[in-house]
C-alpha cells in the first residue's frame, strides 16, 4: 500500500503525521497511566488509614507487624481480625462493584445501565431477604442464595430482552421494570417479618461491612483473581464493541461471545460482591462515570472504575463509622452520595443526549 490517495501527500507528510499521532496518543496514555496510578496509591493509603484508625490508634509499624504475623497485644485481634478484613473486603467489593458497573455501562452505552439500576442487585436482595425472613438462614447461606438470586435475575433480564436480537435500551427498560417488581416483593416480605429478622434484613439490604471476616472474603477474592484478569485482557474487544455491533463485527470482533463473556464476568463479580457485603448502594453506578470524568476519553475504564469503586466504599465506610455520633452502614453513606448524582446524571443526559 504505497500508493498515495491525495496527490499532494508525500511520504514526508505521512511520517510527520505519524509522529504527531504518536505524540497525541502518548499524552492521552500518560494521562491514563498517571491518573490510574494516583488512584491506586490513594486506595492503598485509605486501606492503610482504615487499619490504623479506630477507638485505639495503632501506628503503621504496629499494623505492619500484625500483617507480617507477629503477635502484638491488642492489635493482633483488632487489626488482624477486625480492621484488616474489613478494609480488604471494602477494597475488593468496591473494586468488583465498580468494574461490574462500568462494564454494563460501557456495553449498553448508557450510564443508567448499572446493575443496581437494572435489577440485578435487587434480585440478590430478594433472595437474601427471603433467606433471612422465610427460611432463617445462616450468614453464609444468605450469601449463597444472594449469589444465586443475582445470577438468576441477570439471566432472566437477558433472556427477556434478547427475544429478537440484542437491544441495550430494551434491556435497561426491562431491567428497571424487573427491579420495581422485585422491590415490591421485598417490601411485601419485610411487612410481614418478625422484628428480629427485620433488623437483620434491613442491615443486609443497606449494604454493610460489619460482618467482615477473612472467611467472608475468600470466595470473592478467588473469583476476582479468576475473572478480573480475563476481563482486563479482553478489554480491547469491549472498546471495539462501543462502536456498535455492526462496526465491531466488521472489525473482526465476535460480538455475541464477547458480550456474553463480559456480561457473565460482570454478573459474577457483582453477585459475589453483593453476597459478601449486601448491595452497597450506587457504587456500581457512580464509579464508571467518575472514572470517565477523571481520565477523559481514552483506553479502557475497567481498571480505573474498579479503583474508584474501591475508593468510594473505603471512604464511605470510614465516614460511616467515625464521622457521626452513631455508626452508619457503608451503604447508607454511598446512598446519600449516589442519589443526587443519579438526578444530576438524568438531567445532564437529558440535556446533551450523551452517554458514558
Amino acid at each position: 500500500m504505497t500508493a498515495v490517495l491525495v496527490p499532494t501527500t508525500t511520504p514526508a507528510a505521512v511520517s510527520t503525521t505519524a509522529a504527531a499521532i504518536a505524540r497525541g496518543r502518548r499524552i492521552r496514555r500518560r494521562r491514563w497511566t498517571v491518573t490510574t496510578a494516583i488512584l491506586a496509591v490513594i486506595v492503598l493509603a485509605v486501606v492503610a488509614i482504615s487499619t490504623m484508625v479506630g477507638h485505639t490508634f495503632y501506628t503503621p509499624v504496629e499494623v505492619l507487624r500484625v500483617i507480617f504475623g507477629e503477635s502484638v497485644p491488642g492489635a493482633s485481634f483488632t487489626v488482624g481480625e477486625l480492621r484488616l478484613p474489613r478494609a480488604v473486603l471494602a477494597l475488593f467489593s468496591g473494586f468488583a462493584f465498580g468494574m461490574a458497573g462500568v462494564t454494563f455501562q460501557t456495553m449498553l452505552r448508557n450510564p443508567l445501565a448499572s446493575p443496581d439500576v437494572i435489577g440485578i442487585s435487587a434480585g440478590a436482595s430478594l433472595a437474601a431477604v427471603t433467606g433471612i425472613i422465610v427460611f432463617s438462614l445462616s450468614d453464609v447461606a444468605v450469601s449463597a442464595v444472594a449469589l444465586v438470586g443475582a445470577i438468576v435475575t441477570a439471566g432472566a433480564i437477558y433472556l427477556l430482552s434478547s427475544r429478537s436480537g440484542f437491544a441495550g435500551a430494551r434491556l435497561i427498560l426491562i431491567g428497571i421494570g424487573v427491579a420495581a417488581m422485585i422491590q415490591s416483593l421485598i417490601a411485601y416480605l419485610l411487612s410481614g417479618a418478625a422484628e428480629w429478622d427485620l433488623q437483620a434484613a434491613m442491615q443486609w439490604l443497606s449494604g454493610s461491612l460489619n460482618n467482615a471476616s477473612w472467611e467472608r472474603l475468600v470466595p470473592l477474592a478467588i473469583v476476582m483473581l479468576l475473572v478480573v484478569p480475563v476481563m482486563l485482557a479482553r478489554s480491547g474487544d469491549l472498546d471495539i464493541l462501543r462502536l456498535g455491533d455492526d462496526s465491531a463485527a466488521a472489525l473482526g470482533v465476535r460480538v455475541s461471545p464477547t458480550r456474553v463473556l463480559f456480561i457473565l464476568g460482570a454478573v459474577i463479580l457483582l453477585a459475589f460482591a453483593t453476597a459478601a457485603t449486601g448491595p452497597i448502594a450506587f457504587v456500581a453506578f457512580m464509579a464508571g462515570p467518575i472514572a470517565a470524568r477523571l481520565l477523559g476519553p481514552g483506553p479502557s475504564l475497567l481498571l480505573p472504575a474498579g479503583l474508584v469503586g474501591a475508593l468510594l466504599v473505603l471512604v464511605a465506610d470510614l465516614v460511616g463509622q467515625w464521622a457521626f455520633e452513631s455508626r452508619y452502614p457503608v451503604g447508607v453513606i454511598t446512598g446519600i452520595l449516589g442519589a443526587p448524582y443519579l438526578v444530576y446524571l438524568l438531567v445532564r443526559t437529558h440535556r446533551s443526549g450523551g452517554s458514558l
Binding site: A13, A22, R28, A250, L251, G252
Partner: protein, 299 residues
C-alpha cells in the same frame, strides 16, 4: 416517491418490458490490472426472523470496480450489504470470497479483507480522531499489543488521504457531519481491506459534502484498486459514480450492469413504481433520472 401514486403508476407493470441489462448471474471481468478479492453471492436467501428479505439472489461483485446498489425502501439492499459484510448469516445459499464461504471463515480473517461503514456508526463519547481511526487496525493487532510502527504509518496515511490529519487530536464529537464521515472512511481505510462496503455513506450530508465523499471513494478506488460496494439513495449520484449499478426489487437483483445500459425509464418504473424521463447528464454523460410526479410536469 409519493406513496398514494405508486398504486396507479405500477399499472404499466402489467406488461413489463424486459430490462435491457438483466444479467444477474453474469460474471463481470475484473477491472484490468486489479488484483483484488472476488466477492459473490450464490443463491442467497436472507431473513430477519420469519420475514424473508432476500431470496435466491446471485450477484458477482466486479473486482476493482465501484458498484452501487439502488432500490426502493425495503427492497433488501442494506440487508444484502450486511450479508456481504458477514453480519447476517444466510438462510440459504452463501456469500463467497475467493472461493471461501465467508460465514464459515473466522470473522477476524474476513475483517482483514472486507471493511464496512455502517449507516449509523457510533463514536464513543469524547474519543480522539486518531484513536477512532486507529480502531481500524484492530483486525491486524494481537490482543493487548501496542501499536506497531506500521499501525502509526497506516493511520497517518488514512488521515492524510481523507485530509483530516490536522484534526488528529480533536474529539470526534466536535466535528461537523462532513468531517465525521471522513473520519469513519479513514477508519475503514486503516483497516486496509481490498473490499470496502458502505451503507448510504452520503446520508445526512449536504450536496457538496456528498460529492466530496463520493470523490474521495473514487480516488480510493482508482489509486489503490479497492473494490467498493455502496448502497446509495440518490439514483443520479449512484449512476454517475458507479462502474456497475445494481437495481434491486423485492429482494432480487432486478438489473445490473453499466449505468448507461441499466438506468432507463422502464427500469425506474419497474423498480420505484414511478414515471420519469432519463436524459444524459450534461456534466458527466451518465444517465440522469428526472422524476415525474403529479405536479409541476409539463404535459
Amino acid at each position: 416517491m409519493n406513496p398514494p401514486l405508486t398504486a396507479t403508476l405500477r399499472e404499466p407493470d402489467a406488461a413489463p418490458a424486459a430490462p435491457a441489462a438483466v444479467a444477474a448471474s453474469r460474471d463481470p471481468a475484473p477491472v484490468p490490472g486489479s488484483v483484488g478479492h472476488r466477492l459473490a453471492a450464490e443463491g442467497l436467501a436472507l431473513a430477519y426472523g420469519d420475514r424473508v428479505v432476500v431470496s435466491d439472489l446471485d450477484l458477482q461483485i466486479r473486482t476493482g470496480a465501484i458498484t452501487t446498489i439502488v432500490g426502493a425502501n425495503g427492497c433488501g439492499k442494506s440487508t444484502l450489504l450486511r450479508a456481504f459484510a458477514r453480519l447476517l448469516p444466510p438462510q440459504a445459499g452463501r456469500v463467497v470470497l475467493d472461493g471461501r464461504e465467508i460465514h464459515r471463515t473466522p470473522t477476524k480473517q474476513i475483517a482483514c479483507e472486507i471493511g464496512l461503514l455502517p449507516q449509523n456508526p457510533i463514536a464513543p463519547e469524547g474519543i480522539a480522531v486518531a484513536d477512532l481511526v486507529g480502531r481500524g487496525r484492530h483486525p491486524h493487532q494481537r490482543m493487548l499489543a501496542r501499536w506497531s510502527a506500521k499501525d502509526y504509518q497506516v493511520v497517518a496515511e488514512s488521515l492524510e488521504a481523507t485530509d483530516i490529519a490536522d484534526l488528529a487530536d480533536r474529539s470526534v464529537d466536535e466535528l461537523s457531519g462532513g468531517q465525521r464521515q471522513r473520519v469513519w472512511i479513514a477508519m475503514a481505510l486503516a483497516q486496509e481491506t481490498g473490499i470496502l462496503l458502505l451503507d448510504e455513506p452520503t446520508t445526512f450530508l449536504d450536496v457538496a459534502h456528498q460529492i466530496e465523499v463520493l470523490d474521495l471513494l473514487t480516488d480510493l478506488n482508482r489509486s489503490r484498486g479497492t473494490t467498493i460496494v455502496m448502497v446509495l439513495h440518490d439514483l443520479n449520484l449512484a449512476a454517475r459514480y458507479a462502474d456497475e449499478l445494481v437495481a434491486m426489487k423485492d429482494g432480487q437483483v432486478h438489473a445490473c450492469g453499466a449505468p448507461d445500459a441499466v438506468v432507463t425509464e422502464d427500469l425506474v418504473r419497474d423498480v420505484f413504481g414511478m414515471d420519469s424521463r432519463v436524459i444524459p447528464d450534461p456534466v458527466s454523460g451518465s444517465p440522469v433520472v428526472l422524476p415525474m410526479g403529479r405536479h409541476h410536469v409539463r404535459r
